[in-house]
């Protein structure tokens, strides 16, 4: 601490360099992120398609959130509710298996009493799907699970007499089938990442706690539920919230896991909806897309501030523990 206050006196004349070093970040951020964010807010008050130059006030929000008397408004409302619902269903459906699997794996990986040969290799292999281009993963699964009897998986099922050739399974176009497939792909992509995150959380727990518990005769299972889980709570909460923010942005897989010509309405997420609305040349519905973005922004801000609070809490604790260790 003394060192720092001494440094402050010496570094007064260097303050301008601080600004110089952080200036490029702020310049670029303001132009390419902050201004576009405000621009999105601004565009959300304008119309759609042919009326995109017209000021319409809050009517986009009104239509998205509450619908309206005419058919267009109520269909906009229904679509918005559907994409929100899809996003939620797809997130829950990949998060629950993923967190359970990752917790178990992380507990095993960090358990010193388990003798598992080749731990490092397992981690590397389990993380690999995360590094593979999502667009290519989607393409791979679409091609493997093609709807027709020529799709590799359907062909295999037909050859083995599990299904008959007239009724191949609609893995890509079927609403439930496609949802399940996307959940599987997302889980496959992300469980390795979550496992490693949770592992580092578990390794941050003081090892002597486990020792003391096992001397007192606590079993593995007891230790997991009585020590690991409660102490892992902040990291778990953090994982849930970041995964939720990530889930709200789910785009690549749902956008590409379809028959290539039209979006499957059961797997259209909010990110896909926004993208289609402003980019599709036939639509250019800036108003709808922008107000949906603003709503998405509100939701993520709430989630983000939870994350922020967890982070700051950790930072404060970290500083405190450092201080005390210095004092000691």
């Amino acid at each position: 601490m003394a060192n720092r206050s001494g440094g402050r006196i010496r570094s007064i004349s260097y303050a301008k360099y601080g600004y110089i070093f952080i200036l490029p970040f702020f310049l670029v951020y303001v132009v390419f992120q902050l201004y576009p964010l405000f621009n999105t807010f601004y565009l959300s008050f304008f119309g759609n398609g042919s009326t995109k130059e017209e000021w319409v006030g809050l009517s986009n929000y009104q239509r998205l959130l509450f619908g309206g008397a005419d058919r267009v408004a109520s269909s906009v409302h229904e679509t918005f509710l559907r994409v929100l619902g899809n996003t939620f269903v797809l997130w829950v459906g990949n998060f629950i298996p993923q967190i359970i699997l990752s917790l178990v794996l992380a507990a095993w990986f960090t358990n010193a009493r388990l003798k598992i040969p080749g731990k490092g290799a397992y981690k590397i292999i389990m993380y690999m799907p995360n590094i593979i281009t999502a667009a290519s993963s989607a393409a791979l699964f679409v091609t493997l699970f093609g709807d027709s009897k020529f799709g590799a998986v359907n062909a295999m099922l037909i050859n083995n007499g599990i299904i008959d050739a007239l009724h191949p399974i609609q893995f890509v176009s079927g609403p439930t089938q496609a949802r399940i497939m996307i959940m599987i792909i997302q889980t496959w992509m992300w469980y390795g990442n979550t496992t490693i995150m949770l592992m580092s959380g578990i390794m941050g727990i003081n090892g002597s706690l486990f020792e003391a518990a096992s001397i007192d005769g606590a079993s593995h299972t007891q230790q997991f539920f009585k020590i690991t889980l409660p102490l892992l709570k902040p990291i778990l909460l953090y994982t849930v919230v970041t995964s939720m923010i990530g889930g709200l942005q789910m785009f690549d897989i749902p956008a590409l896991y379809n028959n290539g010509t039209s979006q499957n309405s059961a797997t259209e997420t909010i990110a896909v909806y926004i993208y289609d609305n402003f980019l599709n040349a036939n639509l250019s519905n800036y108003g709808n897309a922008a107000s949906a973005s603003v709503i998405l922004f509100m939701i993520t801000s709430i989630l983000g501030s939870i994350c922020f609070a967890i982070n700051r809490d950790k930072d404060v604790k970290h500083k405190k523990s450092k201080k005390t260790s210095k004092l000691l």
Partner: protein, 294 residues
């Protein structure tokens, strides 16, 4: 009594060891299976795939399939030209990586090394915007870019890489824990100016953090489908990135050479898979570090 207990302790976990190991091996097989089948199918001719469905035995048609893929680009059947895609994705990914690492390092350095009035607010701002998703700004971003005529241009894909709040956060944490500020003082006494200190002393000392972030930035940029497909809106083949090209295979219903499709998908992931297996240990450690520090 003691002996018995000890024996129990030794023998009991053994069953568990085997079970856990078996479970992990199964998971690894599941993780690798789609990629293995991709490689196998890329080596089979279309007729074979249609007749037999899933197979685990590689065949000999890989070269033929790749030739078909290269012919697509020549004949304009579909916008998938692997070499052009490699070039375009590499230009964007390398530029983004360079800018992200350099400027995030500089920003973190500015926040850690110097004391200035707006330091606190600046860092709080960086933390606050860390979670803002691209989707939220993309309508405004796209409209802005098309207004100033920068669509179908690489600049909007590359320049924003300068502002990467999450990377700054990571680098700041790293500097706080392993960059002694006394070194900056010492360099000043030796007459080094501030920028030289940053480039010749700080960057070499921060190499591990720079390397991890560089790998992540490269992979993230290479895999990005959302931004390029938005900005390169006209889908001109000579500009398209690999993920965009993969999408164009999917949206073409007339392609019936299934074997070649698999070969095309395989070619698109080849570079990241190679990068991954070279740096895998590093990457896994980086993810773990992020978990603690994020």
């Amino acid at each position: 009594m003691n002996m018995v207990e000890e024996k129990k302790n030794i023998s009991k976990p053994k069953v568990l060891d085997v079970a856990v190991t078996a479970f992990m091996i199964i998971l690894c097989v599941i993780s690798l299976l789609p990629i293995y089948i991709l490689i196998v199918n890329a080596s089979r001719d279309t007729q074979n795939i249609i007749n037999e469905g899933v197979s685990f035995i590689p065949r000999l048609s890989l070269i033929d399939n790749i030739k078909i893929v290269l012919d697509w680009a020549k004949n304009g059947v579909v916008k998938y030209a692997p070499l052009t895609g490699y070039r375009n994705s590499a230009i964007i990914a390398f530029s983004c990586t360079f800018l992200t690492v350099l400027f995030s390092g500089a920003t973190a350095y500015g926040v850690v090394v110097y004391d200035f009035k707006l330091k606190g607010p600046a860092y709080t701002f960086i933390l606050a915007v860390m979670m803002v998703p691209v989707q939220v700004t993309s309508v405004g971003f796209y409209q802005f870019m098309s207004r100033i005529g920068l669509t179908d241009n690489y600049l909007p894909l590359i320049i924003p890489a300068i502002a990467a709040p999450q990377v700054i956060f990571f680098m700041r944490q790293y500097m706080k824990s392993s960059f002694p500020l006394e070194i900056v003082e010492a360099a000043r006494i030796d007459g080094s100016n501030e920028f030289r200190t940053f480039f010749t002393i700080a960057i070499p000392m921060m190499k591990p953090a720079f390397a991890v972030q560089a790998i992540f930035a490269f992979v993230a940029s290479w895999n990005n489908y959302y931004m390029p497909s938005m900005i390169l809106v006209s889908n001109k083949q000579h500009q398209m990135t690999l993920p965009m090209m993969v999408n164009s295979i999917l949206s073409n219903e007339k392609l019936d050479e299934i074997g070649a499709k698999y070969a095309a998908i395989m070619l698109s992931i080849l570079p990241v898979v190679i990068v991954y297996f070279i740096f895998s240990k590093f990457i896994v450690e980086g993810v773990a570090l992020g978990g603690v520090k994020e």
